[in-house]
């Protein structure tokens, strides 16, 4: 209980201080009241969010936020598609796709899966802008990059081995792979459920694969 109150109060204090500091930074003109409104709402969320744990089941606010902003993006390109030329349309669709990819990556990283240090996503969306469900996500691919040393997550059965950097060596003992299968399924389910509720993609259309990081150039090493 003490721990709960401690983190609650800490939250409120940190956010209050941040908002006060931000208020110094914001321009003094007409925009000020909008920023005040948003910061006020964030403050309210910070105050009442922990209470949900007492009254009801856990609420995932991030999900609501992503699904709502996704809805706005989708409606926006739908409206624009009525006015724009084909080529512009393609560019906008691409932009929309990138936005969704970013959302998914953020969401997966937000789950803080152990051992995963990078997530990449790719989606196929309905690009036929005459069709009824234009902008709908047809398929989502998620690649999770695990650290080489980490055996917190073991690969799933259908792992496609993608060679990163070209020199993949089969140095993984097989018994580790079997042990870890279950954790992975659990995580995959969690990711799928979240993406399903946030973006409305059918769970069978979400493909998650794990990739071992073979020490390519992108890996940062801490010395």
């Amino acid at each position: 209980m003490i721990e709960f109150i401690r983190s609650w109060i800490l939250n409120i204090i940190i956010i209050a201080v941040m908002i006060v500091l931000l208020e110094i930074l914001i321009p003094s003109g007409k925009m000020k009241k909008y920023i005040n409104m948003v910061s006020g709402i964030i403050m309210i969320i910070a105050i009442i969010n922990p209470l949900t744990g007492l009254f009801a089941k856990e609420v995932n606010l991030k999900e609501f936020q992503i699904s709502d902003s996704n809805y706005i993006d989708r409606k926006e390109i739908e409206k624009n598609s009525e006015m724009l030329e084909r080529q512009q349309m393609e560019q906008i669709t691409e932009l929309y796709r990138q936005k969704i990819i970013k959302h998914i990556e953020e969401m997966v990283m937000g789950l803080k899966v152990e051992g995963v240090h990078k997530a990449e996503a790719d989606v196929i969306i309905n690009e036929d802008y005459n069709s009824q469900n234009f902008g709908e996500i047809k398929r989502a691919y998620i690649y999770l990059y695990t650290e080489r040393e980490s055996n917190a997550i073991k690969p799933v059965k259908e792992v496609k081995k993608v060679q990163v950097g070209g020199d993949s060596t089969e140095d993984e003992p097989e018994n580790i792979m079997n042990e870890t299968e279950e954790i992975d399924k659990d995580i995959a389910d969690r990711i799928k459920r979240q993406i399903n509720s946030a973006l409305g993609v059918k769970t069978e259309d979400i493909i998650i694969s794990l990739q071992e990081n073979r020490g390519d150039v992108n890996v940062k090493k801490d010395f």
Binding site: M18, L21, L22, I41, I45, N49
Partner: protein, 128 residues
């Protein structure tokens, strides 16, 4: 010392603009735009540093970093819009300035509405 640079730049630009305005008002406007942009870039690095530091503290709070990002995006949009609108207003085009402000408001709304709806969802979920 940065403030001396910036103030010096601003005063120099103001004097030049005051001299030029009588003969060539169109160049005076361009000069003021350029000055504004230069000052903007001079402080951009500091601004980014402050925001980075604030973000790292926000990470310590239990609340989602996403809210902070949205808040920062809104601040950025407000800054840019004010900048553009002020230039237009200085040049005497206050109608265009108010259009810029309208656009900024709408864009801020599209960012803010998801936060408002998530508050609503929160309230709904608390209700028995």
């Amino acid at each position: 010392m940065d403030i001396i640079q910036i103030v010096g730049l601003g005063i120099a630009a103001t004097i030049i603009i005051a001299v030029i305005k009588g003969q060539k008002p169109e160049i005076a406007i361009q000069l003021s735009i350029i000055t504004g942009v230069v000052i903007f870039f001079l402080i951009a690095g500091k601004f980014a540093a402050i925001v980075d530091l604030l973000g790292s503290y926000f990470n310590k709070a239990d609340i989602d970093i996403m809210y902070f990002t949205v808040l920062l995006k809104i601040v950025g949009i407000a800054y840019i819009a004010e900048f553009g609108a002020e230039i237009c207003r200085d040049a005497g085009e206050s109608s265009i300035a108010s259009k810029i402000e309208l656009a900024a408001k709408v864009i801020i709304m599209t960012l803010a509405v998801p936060i408002v709806t998530s508050l609503l969802e929160l309230v709904i979920s608390i209700m028995p």
